[in-house]
Symmetry: C2
């Protein structure tokens, strides 16, 4: 038993070491102003982690409303929900910005199948957003596998009457999975436009993910300049099915692939951005905006994409109010509509902002899921970028080490001007494309603490930008 006591003490000792290690900033190296900032940031984190609302808001949005594709009933419900929840937080004003949005509908569940050696294989597929339907009887054709748009173009008329299968996988060696996505998504977006030109019958695309599983990933596509009579239907197939099909095509290059989908694009539908604000106490005519997108794809619940961005954005305002932090500039929260297939909300917000001569000095977007915080990507001029990077010592105790230059996000980037500092929230990217645009993007995939740490991270950089971009008059537009 003595031995046991010793062991237990040892374990506790190890954990006590860990405890002492909890990273706090050495106040010796901070200026008095930085000590205030450090204290306020700690307050924001404590508050988010012990009294945050984002997780319960997300549960409500994803489980009681669910999918919110532009033009859908879910999207309409989410607008009402968004306005209600902003009012509950007690913002100074809340309103809706009307915007017409694309209205594409999936129709019946898609079917895909082929037979090899007498065995029928069912393929998990989903139509891509804006794709046309197949004829009601579906499409049956031979398959040509390619790895790139260039390879497809080089086929030319050889693809006539065939289904072209884009199968370039994610580059798994890229550490940030969004880099891998960026390296593959041209197949999904432009595959049908390229192959429609040469008379292909349809296009199927490997799902955009690192994961090898059974989930097809939807997402937007475009027929580009193609004349409407050359439009061909296009769908994503799961990564696992893509691997199997590729193998099977080596065994039987002339196998007949069948798929059927009944999606269609209806006339544009009315919808709204949901906007709320806390008036600035010093220069209310300047705006700091934070947002995510309220719409989602129609598979899953739009949890990581982008329910988390929505609730984190509102939590920034909640944390400010709860802790009596009054922004110098007006803090605007925007739930953008239609990021997924049109970014109409983003363009409307930017257009209205321009029309009303609103002076946006900074923007922050959260649209990379709700995983554990890693940092922010900064899209600003050199001086402002360096200013933000100088906050590293305040942010790194919370795991926010990445403060590199980079894009912000699709919804705030229309606000870009020389002196506007735009920032994208960067959570860890490893799991994001396990869920992105699939039926697997559900509430249970979001971790409460990771979500709350994200809210607090966002509130912290908004606090700093509001304070310092404002006071640095030389940088004001």
């Amino acid at each position: 038993m003595k031995r046991l006591i010793f062991l237990s003490s040892l374990s506790i000792l190890l954990f006590s070491c860990a405890q002492k290690q909890e990273r706090t900033i050495n106040s010796d190296v901070l200026s008095s102003e930085e000590i205030i900032d450090s204290t306020n940031i700690k307050t924001l984190f404590n508050s988010a982690l012990t009294d945050g609302k984002s997780y319960e808001w997300l549960r409500d949005l994803t489980q009681n409303i669910g999918q919110r594709l532009s033009g859908s009933e879910g999207a309409a419900k989410s607008v009402i929900w968004g306005e209600k929840i902003m009012r509950e937080v007690g913002l100074d004003s809340v309103w809706l910005q009307p915007v017409m949005v694309p209205h594409w509908v999936r129709g019946e569940k898609e079917i895909a199948t082929y037979t090899l050696n007498g065995m029928q294989k069912n393929v998990p597929i989903c139509a891509l957003g804006f794709s046309i339907a197949t004829p009601e009887s579906g499409i049956l054709a031979e398959v040509i596998e390619v790895k790139s748009l260039e390879e497809a173009k080089a086929l030319g008329n050889k693809m006539e009457g065939k289904i072209v299968f884009f199968n370039r996988p994610f580059d798994d060696t890229l550490i940030n999975t969004s880099s891998a996505y960026g390296g593959c998504v041209d197949q999904r977006v432009n595959g049908a436009a390229v192959c429609g030109e040469f008379g292909a019958k349809g296009v199927i695309v490997r799902s955009m993910t690192n994961s090898i599983d059974d989930f097809p990933h939807t997402g937007t596509m475009s027929y580009g300049d193609l004349p409407i009579e050359k439009y061909i239907p296009t769908a994503a197939i799961s990564s696992k099915a893509a691997n199997i099909l590729s193998k099977d095509l080596k065994e039987n290059p002339s196998l007949q692939f069948y798929f059927k989908q009944s999606c269609e694009t209806l006339p544009d539908a009315p919808s709204f951005n949901v906007v709320g604000e806390i008036k600035g106490i010093e220069t209310p005519e300047n705006f700091v905006v934070v947002g995510g997108h309220l719409d989602s794809w129609d598979l899953g619940e739009g949890a990581h994409d982008d329910g988390t961005g929505i609730v984190q954005s509102l939590e920034v305002a909640y944390l400010f109010k709860k802790n009596n932090i009054k922004p110098k500039n007006t803090l605007r929260i925007v739930f953008f509509m239609n990021e997924e297939n049109g970014t109409r909300g983003a363009k409307e917000y930017a257009a209205l902002s321009k029309m009303n001569k609103e002076n946006h000095i900074a923007g922050l977007e959260s649209d990379f899921g709700g995983h554990t915080p890693r940092g922010f990507s900064i899209d600003g001029n050199t001086v402002n970028t360096q200013l933000l990077q100088s906050w590293k010592k305040l942010l790194s105790p919370y795991g926010l080490h990445d403060l590199d230059k980079g894009g912000s996000g699709a919804d705030i980037s229309p606000l870009k001007e020389e002196n506007v500092t735009l920032v994208g929230y960067k959570p860890d990217s490893q799991r994001y494309f396990d869920y992105h645009h699939t039926s697997n993007d559900t509430f249970d995939k979001v971790n409460k603490r990771e979500l709350e740490l994200g809210s607090a991270s966002m509130a912290s950089i908004i606090y700093l930008m509001d304070k310092y971009l404002y006071s640095n008059t030389a940088l004001k537009p």
Copy 2:
């Protein structure tokens, strides 16, 4: 449609930005030796992410063997599995180190219940490791809730015949969850010893987790110096049940809580550490050791605790061999037995190492789960610690920013000496205590890429320690 093309291009543009951003080291700022190191580290990561074996090994260990509590059939199977898998990797030699381990068994599934306002509530509980059983009829008694060992001691004889309920929750404001664990685990380890002294009938302890859910978390406890006749049974109850019980006790302070468990400690059982090595090509008499623990608790599959540490440790050797990186010192891989309730394997390894005058220069342990990499905690002398911290620029492109001083791990810490550098692998901690010591610690909770990034992170720091701790002769013991 034009508009759509524009939008699609915009999205792609944003992602291309992200792609360009993939962090590579600016080779201008690196010495020629560092460029070699940077290249080798990139090779290790590429290899782990495209050809890693750790995920399939983990599937095999967790799903085909499952729980591996010391002395159990699962533990015995895992030893055979460990030896086999080490041989498959082609280590220069593989052997077993016999060690006697504690053999505690849970027995039948525990039962706990109480009645409030005529409604019976079933409480998810599990016995704590080394606890004695209740009488066969169970224990029925009033409950006294306390928040600390001190508060319990202050009760003195007032707890006679009662069940003491330790209910101090994790401090959610601590960013690293292991700090919160360190701040609570004394209740689990020492609660029964303290309360047995004063004649309590039993002890129940709030589960060690940030999460509010239905999983009871087991873990080791100790009766310390208590005479055996004063031993009392102790169990963990789920965090959600703890919250409800606390509320219900306010409504009815004299409610009768019932629990029943049939666990027992059998005589020590024979078991083994599994050890393998790649001979060093320059100083094979020096050892660099990397390991995790092969045993697990008996609930769940021991996936994050510590199946991931096991497969990542072996993957270090696999990545070295596959990429023809030959260690200067002998690289030793150890699957330690009995970390969870005794650390007998760790002590045996250290004792044999001392007896055989093996000169360990460095050790690395992975026992904090398989989540996305954050860094390493360093337990070494000042010179070596600074040397390790100087590798930050080589490691940070992979998300490895945390290189603070701190404890390494329970299995390698017995090797500690002034000139031995011990390192703990630090994955992200947010989700770890969602699974730790519960039936929820299963294979599906592990993300393939996160696991592989961890293997590569570990291989990278082993590569650097092997190369530089060796060549820095001034630091050699």
